[in-house]
C-alpha cells in the first residue's frame, strides 16, 4: 500500500460519504476518517432526507437504503399556549411510486453507515473512531491530515473537510471565522418509540406513508425557530431547533425547551404513551448564503455543513446539499487529477458546479430569511397569538349574532395591527420567502 492517498476525507456524514463513493468509483484512492464509533453513530438530523442527489449516487436507492417512510403529507402548525391553527397538505400523487416525492424520513444512525458502506464497497477506506486534529501543509498547500492515532499523519493530494457545522479544519485553514451566535441554531431531539399501528392510526397514514410536521411560535416559547415531529416506521423524531441567541435571550436550555414542547396540548396527544429511546443535540448552520465561507483553497475543499450549506427556509434541507456538495467536490477532484493540478485554480470547478446548481441558487434565494427572522420577533410571538385569538373568537359559539362577532373581531385586529402595517409585514414576508 502506498502511504499517500489521492484524497483524504474528514467526516463520514452525507457529504463525506457522497464524495468518497464518487471518488472511489473512479478508481481514486480514498481514505475517510470518522470520529464516531461508526459513521452516523452520533449524527442526528430532524428527519427528512431529500433524495434527488442520492438517486444519482445510488440509483434506485429505495430498494436498499434504510429509509423509514415516504413523506406524503406536510403540516405546518402555529401554536399559542392553548390553540393551534394548521395548514396541511397531502397528495396522492406523492404516493404513486418510488421515489415518491424524493422525501423520506430517516434515522442517521442507520442511513449514514449504509452510505459509508457503499463508499467502502466501491473501494474507499473508512476509518471510524479516529479524530482528525489538524491539516498538514506544504507551504500554502494542504497536503494531508493529522489523525489522532499513532502513525496518524496521512498525506493526500486533496483533503475534503466534510466535518460538519463545527468544522475545525475550515477554521484551521483560515477559510472561515468563528460564527456569530445568530447564524447557528441549536437543536434537541428525541426518538420516541410507538407501535407501528399506533403511528399509522394517530397520524392518518397507510403502510409506509409518513408525515412531516413543523410547529412554530409557542411551540418554542416564541423563539426564532420551531419544533418538529417526523414519523418513522416505529418511532417518531420529535425535536426543537432555535437560534443560539434566542436561547441566550430566553435563558432556557434546549433540553428544557424540548420538554416544554412535548407538554404542549397539541404535541402531548401525538406522542402519548411513547417511550423515549434516544436523546441527542446538534447545531445547524442557518446563516445561509451570506455565511458560506471560502469553500476551497490549495489542496482543500469544504463540503456540506462545514461549508455552511443548509437551506433553513421552510424546507429544512441540509443532507441533500451535503450530498450534492460531496458529489461536486469529487467531480472537481477527478477533473483536477486529470490535469494534475490540485491548486485553487485546478479545483475551482467545484465552486462553479455549486453555483450552477440548486445548492447556491436556493441559498441565494433565501438569503434574507435569517436576517428577517431576527429583525421580526413579532412573527414568532405577537402575531401568532393575535391570529389564533381571532380564529378562536370566530369559532367560539355564543348567542351573539355573527355580525357582531365579526365586527368585534375586526376591531380587535385593528387595535393590535393597523391595516397598513399588516400590508407592509405581508410584503416583507413575500419578499423574504417567495
Amino acid at each position: 500500500m502506498s502511504d499517500k492517498f489521492d484524497v483524504a476525507i474528514v467526516g463520514a456524514g452525507p457529504a463525506g460519504s457522497a464524495a468518497a463513493l464518487t471518488l472511489a468509483r473512479e478508481g481514486l484512492s480514498v481514505v475517510v476518517f470518522e470520529r464516531g464509533e461508526f459513521p452516523g453513530a452520533k449524527n442526528m438530523f430532524g428527519g427528512v432526507l431529500y433524495t434527488t442527489i442520492l438517486n444519482k449516487l445510488v440509483p434506485n436507492f429505495w430498494e436498499e437504503a434504510p429509509v423509514e417512510r415516504q413523506i406524503v403529507k406536510r403540516r405546518f402548525g402555529l401554536l399559542s399556549e392553548k390553540s393551534e391553527a394548521a395548514f396541511e397538505f397531502r397528495c396522492e400523487d406523492y404516493n404513486a411510486a418510488p421515489p415518491y416525492n424524493q422525501s423520506f424520513s430517516a434515522l442517521r444512525a442507520r442511513f449514514d453507515p449504509w452510505l459509508a458502506k457503499k463508499a467502502e464497497e466501491a473501494g474507499a477506506l473508512i476509518i471510524p473512531e479516529t479524530v482528525v486534529d489538524d491539516l498538514i501543509w506544504e507551504g500554502d498547500k494542504v497536503c494531508g491530515v493529522k489523525a489522532r492515532r499513532e502513525g496518524g499523519d496521512i498525506l493526500a493530494d486533496v483533503v475534503i473537510a466534510a466535518d460538519g457545522v463545527n468544522s475545525f479544519l475550515a477554521k484551521k485553514a483560515g477559510l472561515r471565522k468563528e460564527f456569530k451566535w445568530n447564524v447557528l441554531a441549536v437543536a434537541a431531539k428525541e426518538v420516541i418509540g410507538l407501535p407501528r399501528e399506533v403511528i399509522e392510526d394517530r397520524f392518518g397514514l397507510e403502510g409506509d406513508e409518513g408525515v412531516a410536521m413543523e410547529f412554530f411560535a409557542d411551540s418554542v416559547a416564541g423563539m426564532v425557530g420551531g419544533g418538529f415531529i417526523y414519523t418513522n416506521k416505529e418511532t417518531l423524531s420529535v425535536g426543537i431547533a432555535c437560534s443560539i441567541d434566542a436561547f441566550i435571550g430566553k435563558k432556557i436550555v434546549p433540553n428544557d425547551l424540548l420538554e416544554r414542547f412535548k407538554k404542549h396540548p397539541s404535541i402531548r396527544r401525538l406522542i402519548r404513551k411513547g417511550e423515549t429511546l434516544e436523546y441527542s443535540g446538534h447545531m445547524i448552520p442557518e446563516g445561509g448564503f451570506n455565511q458560506v465561507p471560502q469553500i476551497l483553497t490549495d489542496g482543500l475543499l469544504l463540503a456540506g455543513d462545514a461549508a455552511h450549506l443548509v437551506n433553513a427556509s421552510l424546507y429544512h434541507e441540509g443532507t441533500n446539499l451535503a450530498m450534492a456538495s460531496g458529489l461536486y467536490a469529487a467531480e472537481a477532484i477527478i477533473e483536477a487529477k486529470k490535469k494534475g493540478d490540485f491548486s485553487k485554480q485546478g479545483l475551482k470547478s467545484y465552486q462553479e458546479k455549486l453555483e450552477c446548481s440548486f445548492v447556491m441558487k436556493d441559498l441565494k434565494k433565501y438569503q434574507k430569511v435569517e436576517a428577517w427572522a431576527h429583525a421580526n420577533p413579532k412573527f414568532f410571538t405577537e402575531y401568532p397569538d393575535l391570529l389564533l385569538d381571532l380564529i378562536k373568537d370566530y369559532f367560539t359559539i355564543s348567542e351573539k349574532p355573527k355580525q357582531t362577532i365579526q365586527e368585534n373581531l375586526y376591531k380587535k385586529f385593528r387595535t393590535h395591527l393597523s391595516p397598513l402595517r399588516a400590508m407592509i409585514e405581508i410584503n416583507k414576508l413575500r419578499k423574504t420567502f417567495l
Partner: protein, 264 residues
C-alpha cells in the same frame, strides 16, 4: 511461539439491554458492538509476548455471525497476525460446552503453545468456555489471571490469579490455557498503519464441516443447557432522598436502616 486468542463480539458495555419480543434473545436493534473487554487483555498479552520474544504469530479466533468479522479486524488492527472466523447457522442454540467443542476443534488444527481466553464474556456472563476448552483438549489452565510471565526456557509460564483476599501463583506447563482478568495489562489502541494493514491480513472462514463437526455435535440438539427465556430484571425504584441538614439526614438514614430496612 504460536499464540491463539479466542475472542467474542459483544454489545458495548453501555448498551441498553431489553428482551426481544420472542424472549429468546435480546432486542438487537441499534446496538453497537465491541470486542469483549476481557478478551482484549488476552490479545494484548499475546502481542506483548510476541514482541518480547520477537518471534511467533498471534491468531485470533471467533465464533459468531457475519458481523463478528469486525471484532476480528479490530484485533488485527492492534497487531494480531491472522484471524479465524467460524460461522455456521447450525451453531444457533448451542450452549457453552458446544461453543467449547467448536473452539477446541479449531484450536487443534493449529499448533498453539499458548491460548488466551477472556475470564468471561460480558454478554452471557458464563465464564465457562475457556475452562471447558482446557478440559476438552486435556490442557492445563489458569483462570482469571492478572499477571503472566513466561519462563526463560519457554516451556512453562507462571501466572497470578485473583482469589478472595489473596493471589494464587500458578505454574503451568505449555501448551496451556489462560483466561484473562482485568489488571493483566493495558490494551493498546490501534495505530493508523495498523488499521490499514488489518484490511489485508489473512482471514480464514470455517464452517462446521471444515472442522469435521456437525449440528448434532455442537448445535441446539447437543446443548445440555437450553435458554428458556430472557426477561428484564425487576426495576429498582428510586427510594427516598433524605432532605434536611446533613446531621439530621444522617441520623434519619441510620434510623431508616435500623428500623425500616432492618439491616443495621
Amino acid at each position: 511461539m504460536n499464540i491463539a486468542v479466542c475472542i467474542k463480539q459483544v454489545p458495548a458495555t453501555e448498551s441498553k439491554i431489553k428482551p426481544a419480543a420472542d424472549g429468546l434473545d435480546i432486542d438487537r436493534t441499534g446496538l453497537s458492538y465491541v470486542v469483549n473487554p476481557y478478551d482484549e487483555f488476552g490479545v494484548e498479552e499475546a502481542l506483548k509476548i510476541k514482541e518480547q520474544l520477537d518471534t511467533g504469530t498471534v491468531t485470533v479466533i471467533t465464533i459468531g455471525p457475519e458481523k463478528a468479522v469486525e471484532a476480528l479486524r479490530t484485533c488485527l488492527a492492534v497487531g494480531a497476525d491472522e484471524a479465524i472466523h467460524i460461522k455456521d447457522d447450525a451453531l444457533t442454540g448451542g450452549d457453552a460446552l458446544c461453543t467449547a467443542r467448536v473452539l477446541a476443534a479449531a484450536l487443534k488444527k493449529g499448533n498453539y503453545d499458548l491460548i488466551f481466553f477472556g475470564r468471561q464474556a460480558i454478554d452471557d456472563d458464563s465464564g465457562a468456555v475457556g475452562i471447558h476448552v482446557a478440559e476438552l483438549l486435556g490442557l492445563p489452565h489458569v483462570a482469571g489471571i492478572n499477571k503472566f510471565e513466561l519462563n526463560a526456557d519457554g516451556l512453562k509460564a507462571v501466572a497470578h490469579r485473583q482469589i478472595e483476599g489473596a493471589a494464587e501463583v500458578v505454574e503451568a506447563r505449555l501448551p496451556a490455557i489462560f483466561t484473562c482478568q482485568k489488571e493483566l495489562n493495558e490494551p493498546r489502541y490501534a495505530s493508523l498503519p495498523g488499521i490499514m494493514k488489518a484490511k489485508q491480513k489473512p482471514m480464514t472462514v470455517w464452517s462446521l464441516a471444515d472442522l469435521d463437526l456437525s449440528a448434532e455435535d455442537v448445535g441446539a440438539s447437543a446443548a445440555k443447557v437450553k435458554l428458556e427465556k430472557i426477561t428484564s430484571p425487576p426495576v429498582r425504584e428510586a427510594g427516598k432522598t433524605i432532605d434536611g441538614d446533613t446531621a439530621h439526614a444522617v441520623s434519619e438514614l441510620v434510623r431508616l436502616l435500623h428500623e425500616e430496612a432492618k439491616v443495621l
